[in-house]
Symmetry: C2
Subunit: 454 residues, 2 copies
């Protein structure tokens, strides 16, 4: 038979594309070489959130203890936690498998590659299988990338996959790369009592964020006694005498039990016959048009097309390609504002344009308005008052929101709606924010005095 | 001088009315007999949130311990907590006072009453003072009410004000009234190890909520070994031999260290000259027209008008009357959907119409769609998976949302926007929900199969 749709990769993008397409009545095969759920479920967002959730009492206790309100000790059993993570992942994969079965999606396990006109060949454990398709979705995701000298060895130098598979937390950790992945993992290690050193070549932590957000994060981390080394170039990192040894280009060295290298992720697009099928690649990213198409009848979504490395962006693209493949939409893909969140304590949220982006787009009308979390009763209740919410305005409309601090992830969905809808000052009071709530910090920022960005 | 606006009561409604009016350029006097911030700040929402925040590590630890992931003990020092609460309240009141001063609002401390044509007399510690006004805002708030036999004695039978002022947590507590106030306070007591009995004449806890929400709450409370006595009529409760003794109409008795009576709150509208000024009262509630006016040049907002006993509803009304008094709006008051939240763990949120209300309004087109929290990775991460999100549809539009479970308060602001905007199925994918997040449970509920309400 010829499938209406074949999907390569069962991460958030590919899985959702298969499910959505099957829900629309298409015959679908989903090819996966590893586990259902991809990086996000098995080696990324979900295990990290389980780690953060399991250790959140440590952070809450710590904050209340600083206020002389609480005392005691919370111990997280790392082996027990890892066991729970594995059980959760297995349970989620099983539920995903059942969902595919119920929808009639054929799951084909093995490495898929484009092998001819409208054809994919899957190298499975029990031999090769050929799948003919009318349309194809490439959702092959991404993997950690490394600069020369920073390659993980699996012993003391780890990538994020290896870090999540550890059997015990180290007592000291060097994190190379101060982006979201490194910072979330470092936070968890910190809660286990691990001494943290963060190294980045940029001049600030979380370099994709608003500079004031980065400064607040750095201030919190320094209070936690993290050693933060910025604008430092690393020559290499390797295992020596059972320790991770990092050498800067200056010749200085750092030694710790483990090093986590989290300098970025790159698309998985090699050796699957993409170029031969007419797909264009640029720095391994699949080039797509306004319809998320990489070649006739071939879509590419998620991390593989390199637009935005976030699961929910992939899922949103997935829904579009399913509808497009089924002939239910004809226009180009429209991407709403994509929210981004760093979890932990503090959290960071961002959606839409940041101050500098808005200023570059229209330097004449860019303004910002800000609210400090110290004035918020929920931040006070959790004794975690460092942080702020910042609203970016352009032409009198909200074009972006960012925040750092206790529980600010809860602002991201309303903020995404506000940015998408381009609220003006008049729209703010069209809804009622609950009191007391962290959400009110967003209201306070929306109604605060605006300052022109210079 | 004659003030443009005199406000009686400095709770969330009155304070915001004064601040908003001053911001619009009006000359304003604010009359308060007690503390700035009213019940919400001093004896209600804020102290309870500080209690819940301070004890949240206990709940987080408990959940992870059930999963064999964490162990240990967290002790909250109640005296230290009460000290912190008082410091926080004093600091907030001070900041509010400074805000009034900065805006030129005259704070007049004492009991205010309407004493003649466009005149308020304030009985202050140092004698009487007369304030002439062009417009008046009555924002006198509410106080706990009691049925005969349930009056607090301040010894072992307490109202919520007295409960919040305790110097130590009791070892056992009877809560009379299973509404939000009683349940939040009972949760805190539970975290301190207190044995809880909840008594209500209704057939379910949280009787204003969706019945399935009530059932989930009851199920959680029973797992906590709470003794829940529903459809039980109380004859009386009193202090005997240093204990609280509750007698049912059946003659059965309950004994505990303390009893908290939280059966409701009623407006504070007596003995301040309202009727004489032409204001109509019904069950002590000030009757207002579509402009929130109770008589010519007299507005009434917040708990005093009995519409909605929630601080944020009062604040929203406050803004309207300030604008109306300043001549900046002319049309009637429009009340957006008012979110309501029960904090703690589990939390409850509600906004818009519930299933039964929507069915009564249009029995032909009411549908519900639901998502269980068990499938949500953030609920899983916090090992708190009991609960659900329910969306109520009418005529193909979202008219209400409710939820119960871990951290569901974070859904209430986006839900308030969705209900206000009357989203149809097509609107859902106009925004992107972050992954992973508790917010996705709302997305799942919005896209779940809808069932007709019968």
């Amino acid at each position: 038979m010829t499938f209406d749709l074949v999907v390569i990769g069962a991460g958030p993008g590919g899985f959702d594309a298969a499910v959505d397409a099957a829900g629309l009545g298409l015959s679908v095969a989903l090819v996966e070489k590893d586990f259902l759920g991809g990086t996000c479920l098995n080696r990324g967002c979900i295990p990290t959130k389980l780690w953060l959730g399991a250790t959140s009492a440590i952070e809450e206790l710590h904050n209340q203890a600083r206020m002389k309100v609480a005392s005691g000790e919370v111990t997280v059993n790392f082996a027990g936690l890892q066991n729970r993570v594995q059980k959760h992942l297995a349970g989620t994969r099983k539920a995903m498998g059942l969902q595919l079965k119920k929808l009639g999606v054929e799951l084909v396990e093995g490495m898929g590659r484009l092998s001819g006109d409208h054809r994919v060949t899957v190298a499975a454990a029990d031999g090769e299988r050929t799948l003919d398709y009318k349309k194809l979705v490439v959702a092959t995701g991404s993997r950690p990338i490394f600069f020369p000298g920073l390659e993980p060895d699996g012993e003391c130098v780890l990538d994020s996959d290896m870090f999540l598979s550890m059997e015990a937390m180290p007592e000291s950790l060097i994190v190379v790369g101060a982006g979201f992945i490194g910072l979330e993992m470092a936070q968890v290690a910190h809660r286990f009592g691990c001494r943290i050193t963060v190294v980045d070549a940029m001049d600030r932590v979380a370099p994709l964020e608003d500079p004031e957000v980065s400064a607040t994060l750095a201030s919190v981390f320094k209070r936690w006694k993290w050693d933060i080394r910025l604008e430092e170039r690393v020559a290499g990192v390797l295992t020596r005498n059972g320790k991770a040894e990092l050498t800067f280009q200056s010749g200085d060295k750092l030694i710790a039990d483990k090093a986590l290298v989290a300098v970025g992720r790159g698309p998985v697009t090699m050796d699957i016959g993409l170029r031969k099928a007419g797909v264009e690649l640029l720095f391994n990213q699949i080039q797509v048009d306004d319809y998320l198409m990489a070649a006739p009848d071939i879509y590419a979504i998620g991390d593989a097309n390199g637009h935005i490395q976030l699961a929910h962006a992939a899922s949103h693209q997935a829904r579009y390609v399913a509808l497009h493949a089924a002939g239910k939409v004809e226009g180009p893909y429209v991407c709403p504002p994509v929210p981004s969140v760093l979890y932990g304590a503090p959290e960071v949220m961002r959606v839409g344009m940041m101050e500098n982006e808005a200023f570059l787009a229209d330097y004449d009308s860019t303004e910002v308005s800000t609210a400090q979390l110290a004035a918020n009763p929920m931040a006070q209740a959790h004794a975690a008052t460092q942080g702020f919410v910042k609203v970016v305005w352009s032409g009198g409309k909200v074009v972006g929101v960012t925040a750092v601090g206790h529980d600010v992830s809860r602002l991201v969905t309303p903020a995404a709606m506000i940015v998408h809808q381009g609220w003006t000052a008049d729209a703010i009071h069209s809804i009622i924010f609950p009191h007391p709530s962290l959400d009110e910090a967003l209201l306070t920022a929306l109604t605060a005095e605006r300052k022109k960005v210079q």
